[in-house]
């Protein structure tokens, strides 16, 4: 099939960018989207033009490295699919597609379709863990965990940290990403001791980064390649609010903060 791509090209973080048009006369329907870009890049190189930079690694939809906007939709139009797993059989002959990097102030463009998602790591640093040093754990079966809880925790844990949720959100909010980790750990007994400080610190970090606020549009869930549910945002908000009252109650009990 024949496709026209309009691709965002930007030489560096502070360079101006623009959309450049490329014609692909012979795309096979069996290719993945990234394989199509590989072929285009080979041809560009042969012509002496620098290839399009895009992030990718496992090409199995699990590492979360790849991702860009395809005609306004993060990872393209197929539900629950990362761009590396998106195959060309879903496109029509003659289609024109616009490829842009993730749209978010919190994810600055490094080059072409490559962005810096370091903000996600900083949110995890703020509390997205159970503080358990190596070697201190008790036997793995010492605490039973209800299967239903373990299953929902796994649903939350399946987030791959790709950033599509932020890119698609009209506000550029990162609530879905943050809530997935907060909820995974809040659902498990191992996450209880740090449950309240975790939600407080992770949300505080979220607000320090250049993300927007969540107003429940739900576009994050719609484009999430792993189908992470909006319910987790509700769970996180509830925990965050409960913590506000916990802190207030505790400070009253100890005679105030001073």
């Amino acid at each position: 099939m024949r496709l026209t791509l309009r691709v965002w090209r930007q030489a560096g973080p502070s360079a101006p960018g623009r959309l450049v048009t490329y014609e692909l006369p012979d795309v096979s329907e069996h290719m993945s989207f990234l394989e199509m870009l590989d072929v285009l890049n080979e041809r560009l190189t042969e012509k002496g033009e620098e290839p399009i930079a895009f992030d990718h690694d496992c090409r199995e939809g699990i590492c979360g490295t790849c991702g860009f906007m395809i005609s306004g939709i993060a990872h393209g139009k197929m539900p629950a699919t990362t761009v590396c797993q998106l195959h060309m059989r879903h496109f029509r002959d003659g289609e024109e597609l616009v490829l842009e990097p993730w749209r978010s102030k919190a994810f600055p463009v490094l080059r072409d379709l490559v962005v810096d998602r370091g903000a996600f790591d900083r949110i995890i640093q703020a509390g997205g863990y159970v503080a358990v040093n190596t070697g201190t754990a008790q036997d793995a079966n010492a605490i039973p965990v209800a299967k239903a809880d373990a299953d929902v925790a796994m649903d939350a844990a399946s987030c791959i940290g790709c950033g599509a949720c932020v890119a698609q959100c009209p506000n550029g909010a990162a609530q879905l990403f943050t809530a997935a980790k907060v909820s995974q750990l809040a659902l498990l007994p191992q996450g209880q001791p740090e449950r309240w400080q975790r939600v407080e610190r992770m949300v505080a970090q979220l607000e320090r980064e250049a993300f927007g606020s969540c107003t429940n549009y739900g576009e994050c869930e719609a484009v999430c390649p792993k189908g992470v549910s909006l319910d987790f945002i509700a769970m996180m908000n509830r925990d965050w609010l409960r913590n506000v009252f916990r802190v207030r109650r505790e400070s009253r009990a100890t005679g105030g903060a001073g």
Binding site: H30, D57, Q85, Y129, A140, G161
Partner: protein
């Protein structure tokens, strides 16, 4: 080069205990005086960096990805083994040890494997405590399954995303240490060379992939946890960025490379569909628990699977190996698939595929049960092929997946360069000539959580007060070399792309050094590769400069190293005149076509020493002693 494996004396059950007691300790207050550089942030690297940070060492950790959460460990689907015996089915540390040595076709070091089995239980404890959401039974306890050739259920799993969940556990532990200031993380940073001073690893030279800046990092010890080299075959199940540069550079600086020819070809991957193919996708081996593998009985039978009656199908694994059936180890399943395809009985448009059929188990257990077990894998298959595996059988074909070979290490996981440690897939130590399913995750985490935190202290203890600096002639020399090479790559401006060289290398490797190898083909490859290398350095086209993000330049450096390593893989395969595990020499097989080992002549680790550009590498042998596992021809019949 002298290779001393430093295996502790005494009975195997007590070796690790004894080693831990005999090793020197670094006082808790002194640990912060030592800087350790950890390269790689997969299961082995992240767990090592986090654990060393917790102990108090100053750690610097490097990964080429944009976040340590993305290392290729994340792609492991099936599970992680541990000798917990939670299922009361007769498992034990000794059995896991025995199975691993046997599964590795008696080419692994007994003492290392025993330790791996011994610490396996603690890994599960640690991961559960971190909040890894393993699969559970209704009673709330951990679920297990049997996996790839094991006759006990010792595999723990988190849906089909076990690697992801274990990596996120280690990543979160690492991020916690980063927040505490104990680990400094350098993402999008690639190690391009090792600095050795007075025979000791002193640091690394890296390139910041965002800015192109070349930097020096000095430390008291260097830990490489940079994964395997399967991408030397171009098409493999490895992530696109997986590369051998760190271990290959270390090899050229004095680290012996052990058993490079031991590569694992995984039997259940989605077949190649065209020239543009950029990588191969693995379908978890757990699928073989409920799927039946078959091809048409007749050659050239092109009817759709559903129209081939039961009597005209050949369930060849069940036929040849009645005891293990579809669950034979990976090397055997892969070779059997190749054989039926060579006979002209392969399926799919290319004839390079076999069926993996779930209709019988869907009939027996119901679609819901299969969906619960493999739902995400079925979805992935459908996404890639456009076929629905609930209604038509999957098509699968073997692909390069894992490399058992790697840098030689002793019992402390130290390479032949003092102060240079190698963990996880990057080393050679635990899987012999073939790795069992669900053992890679176990080894990565064993090395990182429970071995290196102990062994590194033994070497460091004697070095208290030693100052390390990157402002030395050795660092300058290495940095100059790195800069020259990058400049060379961007100045050739030839006619061929990096990918075209990589593809050609892969074709040579797969044809001559893939599932079946013979002396003629290997010699042909060894003759051809130097020419391809020379052409690369005259005719490769890397556009742009080294001053910023340049993905072609990154790839070019990696492919240049694969072009050298590929030859070593072939040389090792040529010298090993026997068949064992993933290394199948066509000249050495039983009348039934099974691998024929030669324990009398090849019961050793082949450790190759770099002898300089244009010189043949020097072979060193570490004999393997089997005191506990009875050497036998593997039989899965």
């Amino acid at each position: 080069m002298r290779l001393d494996a430093r295996i502790p004396a005494g009975p195997i059950e007590g070796k690790w205990e004894r080693c831990k007691f005999e090793m020197k300790l670094v006082n808790p207050a002194n640990k912060r005086r030592f800087k350790v550089l950890v390269v790689g942030s997969g299961l082995a690297g992240a767990s090592a960096a986090a654990s060393l940070g917790e102990l108090g060492y100053e750690v610097e950790c490097f990964c080429y990805q944009d976040s340590p959460r993305r290392a290729h460990s994340i792609s492991a689907q099936g599970g992680i083994n541990a000798a917990k015996n939670y299922q009361n089915d007769g498992d034990s540390v000794f059995r896991l040890f025995y199975d691993t040595v046997k599964g590795g076709d008696f080419r692994a070091r007994e003492a290392n494997v025993y330790r791996l089995a011994e610490v396996s239980g603690a890994i599960i404890d640690q991961c559960v405590a971190q909040g890894v959401p393993f699969a559970r039974e209704y009673g709330g306890l951990l679920a297990n399954r049997s996996f790839g050739g094991a006759q006990v259920s010792r595999t723990f799993y988190a849906r089909g995303q076990t690697g992801q969940q274990l990596l996120l556990g280690a990543y979160q532990a690492l991020e916690r240490q980063i927040a505490l200031g104990k680990v400094r993380m350098f993402t999008r940073t690639e190690m391009l060379d090792l600095v050795v001073e007075d025979g000791r690893a002193r640091g690394i030279v890296v390139r910041d992939l965002k800015t192109g800046e070349i930097r020096r990092h000095a430390g008291h010890a260097v830990v490489l946890a940079t994964g395997g080299y399967g991408n030397a075959f171009h098409l493999s199940t490895n992530a696109k960025g997986c590369n051998a540069t760190a271990i290959w550079r270390a090899h050229k600086r004095g680290a012996a490379f052990a058993n490079p020819c031991y590569t694992q070809i995984h039997p259940t991957c989605i077949p190649v569909s065209g020239d543009y193919q950029s990588k191969l996708t693995l379908m978890s081996e757990s699928l073989r628990n409920d799927g039946r593998i078959w091809v048409p009985l007749r050659k050239g039978d092109t009817r759709p699977a559903g129209e081939i009656p039961e009597a005209e199908r050949d369930y060849y694994l069940e036929r040849r190996y009645p005891a293990f059936g579809n669950l034979v180890p990976r090397d055997i399943a892969s070779r059997a698939a190749k054989q039926v395809c060579d006979e002209g009985r392969g399926v799919g448009p290319t004839g390079l595929g076999v069926y993996l059929d779930f209709s019988e188990s869907i009939g027996r257990l119901g679609r819901a049960a299969i969906e619960e077990r493999y739902g995400n894998l079925f979805e992935m298959y459908e996404r890639i092929t456009g076929e629905d595996p609930y209604s038509v059988p999957m098509r699968i074909f073997p692909a390069v997946h894992y490399t058992m070979g790697g840098l030689w290490v002793d019992y402390h996981l130290m390479s032949s360069v003092q102060g240079l440690y190698v963990l996880g897939e990057a080393n050679f130590s635990d899987h012999g000539a073939n790795r069992l399913g669900a053992s890679a995750l176990m080894q990565g985490l064993a090395d990182g959580y429970f071995v290196i935190p102990y062994t590194i202290g033994d070497d460091l203890a004697a070095r208290l007060g030693e100052k390390v600096s990157s402002d030395t002639p050795a660092f300058s020399e290495v940095e100059t070399g790195v800069r020259d090479r990058l400049r060379k790559l961007t100045s050739i401006r030839g006619k061929r792309t990096v990918d075209s060289f990589h593809r050609e290398l892969g074709q040579v490797m797969w044809a001559e050094c893939g599932m079946g190898r013979n002396a003629t083909g290997l010699r042909r490859a060894i003759e051809r590769l130097p020419g391809l290398r020379a052409e690369f350095w005259e005719n490769v086209n890397v556009l742009g400069s080294g001053d910023g993000l340049n993905q072609s330049l990154e790839k070019a450096g990696r492919v240049a190293d694969f072009l050298e390593l590929g030859e070593l893989i072939c040389r090792d395969a040529l010298h090993r005149e026997e068949s064992c595990g993933g290394h199948f020499r066509e000249e050495h097989q039983t009348p039934e076509g099974e691998a024929l080992r030669d324990d009398e002549h090849f019961r050793y680790v082949a450790a190759w020493e770099w002898a300089g550009e244009g010189r043949e590498p020097v072979l060193h042998k570490e004999p393997l002693e089997f005191e506990y596992v009875h050497l036998a021809q593997r039989s899965y019949k």
